[in-house]
């Protein structure tokens, strides 16, 4: 993985001291809260419902054991013993004191971590496919370009006071695990007709009040030109994005107002100028230098497991729960290896939470098995990217002891939920208790497997941090006169077949929503044309009407 050199280290260290100065000026009143707020946000510090919240970046979702131990240390020393992994490859601490935050950042800097641009109206932490460098369906590891983008965007003097936040995701695989089309801008590694790899760039995706699926703004950007191209997009946005209305300030609104053709034209003009100036060209040597950091580990020449299923996945390994194998173990590009999802969704638990003890223990487990990295997924799980299949029994046993072996990755209880009204100052309704209730309702594993792939995503307000628009079943918390209500949306997808869920109708009370979800799921089971037809496929085939009827209590047959 990437390692800081003296320049990166100095940059982060100076940034910590800069923030220390800003905190000191706030405490003396030299800075007003109004002035301090955007500054603290640019360092990931919020003031939430109960306390401050610090959001720390996990750039492109990659952590070393040492970094994981540091997160555990921060959780223990400055917080309440746990951290919360978010949908954007960040970790949040819910209880830090303002006066401690500079020290926390200094501690994090010792392991090459920071909170730079994890909030604020700037270019946010760049996210990447969590299977990067391991996935069987990958053209190229997207993390080197993510690192290059991270450096380019860090304290960018022109783009630190954008109309609104700006989120970039990268992926290099056929299957989109990074929700590219729901980002302000996304970079997909593609191969052109001549067999060269380069980048397809999307803009204008996003969730929130007006969700849009992003469109392609360039089909192929040559590798050396990528920063010039991204800067061109940023410039069009900084100059023309709306600043008169907070809800219309994201690039998706501009992208939609201009239309794809005009957007492409304007970006092309800026791009041509920047490209010709040459100042942002990424030379091949620089790419190669960064690539080298992400070189895959030396894979041993391991035998393929004879018991493999058709998808190349082991089906039966003595000592490993077959349910775990079926959902949490994924194909790896190297023979004899696999990718393991560590579910942070125990039934009844808080989606995305890990305790300091779990983080420490995972770091130990990684060391024991010579695993240099762990990943954070946007689905609020952790991922061990390079696991020898022969180590699976030992790893699975340890994960089980740690309460980290819930075999539900991709199933109905693998729910994404934002912090919601339990923590978030902007929330309209709680998310976590709803996720817990639904997970408990569907706790039976046979039932979960019978239902198959079904992604439930819950947001506590229209800001959509829980990606409800992209849930096969999406749940949005709304406020009706101070009381929590929940809207149900169906048919969203954050994958390569991106779509925005359709709202079913009037909301449900907090004690009704789990029942409504269950009725929808039961209707799906009746309607599907076989166990291989996923919920999303059935929904796309039959439409919203039958689900609408059953959700509000009608009998499916009478309705359909």
């Amino acid at each position: 993985m990437y390692r800081y050199d003296e320049f990166d280290a100095r940059f982060v260290a100076e940034r910590v001291e800069q923030f220390r100065g800003q905190v000191a000026r706030r405490l003396t009143g030299e800075l007003t809260e109004d002035q301090f707020k955007p500054l603290r946000l640019m360092n990931g510090l919020y003031l939430q419902l109960h306390a401050y919240m610090l959001r720390v970046a996990v750039p492109y979702g990659t952590l070393s054991p040492k970094q994981l131990r540091m997160l555990a240390h921060v959780a223990r020393k400055y917080d309440k013993g746990y951290g919360h992994f978010t949908t954007r490859q960040n970790i949040q601490f819910n209880w830090p004191r303002l006066v401690d935050v500079p020290d926390i950042l200094a501690d994090l800097a010792t392991v090459e971590m920071h909170a730079i641009q994890t909030s604020g109206n700037c270019i946010r932490n760049v996210t990447a496919d969590h299977f990067a460098g391991a996935a069987a369906d990958e053209i190229e590891d997207p993390r080197p370009i993510a690192e290059i983008i991270r450096q380019w965007s860090s304290l960018h003097p022109e783009f630190s006071f954008l109309p609104r936040k700006f989120k970039i995701a990268v992926s290099g695989a056929a299957h989109d695990r990074a929700a590219l089309k729901f980002h302000d801008m996304a970079v997909e590694i593609v191969r052109n007709g001549a067999g060269e790899t380069g980048y397809r760039v999307y803009v204008g995706g996003g969730m929130g009040r007006t969700p849009y699926v992003g469109y392609v703004v360039s089909d192929f950007v040559a590798k050396p030109d990528i920063l010039s191209f991204l800067e061109a997009v940023m410039r069009v946005y900084n100059e023309q994005g709306r600043r008169d209305n907070l809800f219309k300030a994201r690039i998706k609104i501009l992208a939609n107002a201009l239309g794809a053709d005009e957007m492409r034209r304007q970006v092309a003009v800026e791009f041509e100028e920047i490209r010709t100036s040459g100042t942002l060209t990424v030379p091949a040597e620089e790419l190669a230098r960064i690539d080298a950091y992400f070189a895959p580990p030396e894979f041993e020449d391991l035998p393929d497991d004879p018991a493999d299923g058709a998808d190349g996945m082991p089906r039966d390994i003595p000592g490993v729960d077959p349910d775990f194998l079926a959902t949490n173990v994924h194909p790896h590009r190297a023979k004899g290896y696999c990718i393991v999802t560590i579910s942070l969704k125990p039934i009844g638990g808080v989606p995305g939470d890990a305790t300091a003890e779990q983080m420490d223990a995972l770091a130990d487990l990684m060391d024991e098995h010579g695993m240099a990295e762990i990943r954070v997924s946007h689905e609020q799980n952790l991922v061990l990217p390079h696991v020898r299949r022969k180590d699976l029994p030992a790893i699975h046993a340890r994960l089980t002891e740690l309460g980290l072996a819930t075999p539900n990755a991709g199933l109905i209880t693998d729910i994404i939920a934002c912090p919601g009204l339990d923590y978030c100052d902007l929330a309209n309704a709680r998310s976590i208790p709803i996720a817990q209730k639904i997970a408990e309702r569907f706790a039976d594993l046979d039932r979960q497997h019978h239902i198959g792939e079904l992604k439930i995503k819950i947001s506590g307000c229209i800001n959509a941090c829980g990606h409800h628009h992209a849930g096969h079943i999406g749940i949005l918390g709304v406020d009706k006169k101070g009381v929590e209500f929940y809207q149900l949306q169906l048919g969203g997808s954050g994958a390569e077949d991106a779509s925005i869920g359709e709202i079913l109708g009037p909301g449900f009370g907090k004690d009704e929503i789990a029942d409504a979800v269950e009725r929808v799921v039961e209707a799906y089971l009746t309607l599907r044309q076989g166990p291989d037809e996923r919920f999303l496929d059935t929904y796309r085939r039959v439409g919203i009407v039958p689900f609408k009827n059953v959700a509000y209590g009608q009998d499916l047959h009478a309705a359909y």
Binding site: F7, H156, F161, P163, R243
Partner: protein, 162 residues
């Protein structure tokens, strides 16, 4: 209002002339874009330096043809959160190779000075009690930069290459 230019407090060679007010004697005038466009020739005929003040919504593109005759472009920050002037300054410097003064006026923070200097601002209207030491400190908080801008500084990548 005190003016920092080229890293020093200087006497302001300009006078901002609100629309409808008479030009001062013997001093350069800064005018709004609307007034500039209406009275361009009169202004230049005075033989004194001409400055144009742009609201953050006004793209300096419109000044392109006149830039060689303009001594200063004043970019206004209506609120410090409005980041357009950073792009306007950068555009003036790198696209139009504007060599004159680019001045910041309005609502901006100590914490933005470094970015302003990077994108091409070289003059800053600051509040009465602002100390020059603070100005210098603001510019020195971060030793190195990752990306090129309008200041021609060597980036971290340049430094790595030695």
């Amino acid at each position: 209002m005190p003016l920092i230019r080229g890293g020093q407090f200087v006497d302001d060679p300009f006078f901002f002339v609100p629309d409808g007010k008479a030009y001062p004697d013997e001093k350069g005038a800064i005018v709004t874009l609307a007034r500039f466009q209406g009275e361009k020739e009169t202004l230049f005929a005075r033989g004194l330096p001409v400055g144009v003040r742009l609201a953050s919504s006004e793209n300096p593109q419109v000044l392109k043809a006149d830039l060689p005759r303009i001594a200063a472009v004043v970019l206004e920050f209506p609120r410090f959160r409005d980041g357009r002037p950073f792009s306007w300054a950068r555009m003036l410097r790198t696209r139009f190779a504007f060599k004159g003064e680019i001045r910041a006026t309005g609502d901006f923070l100590y914490d933005q000075l470094a970015s302003m200097a990077r994108t091409g601002f070289d003059a800053f209207e600051v509040r009465q009690d602002f100390a020059l030491d603070d100005f210098r400190r603001a510019l020195a908080e971060m030793t190195n930069v990752y990306q090129p801008s309008a200041d021609g500084r060597r980036t971290i990548r340049d430094l790595r290459a030695g």
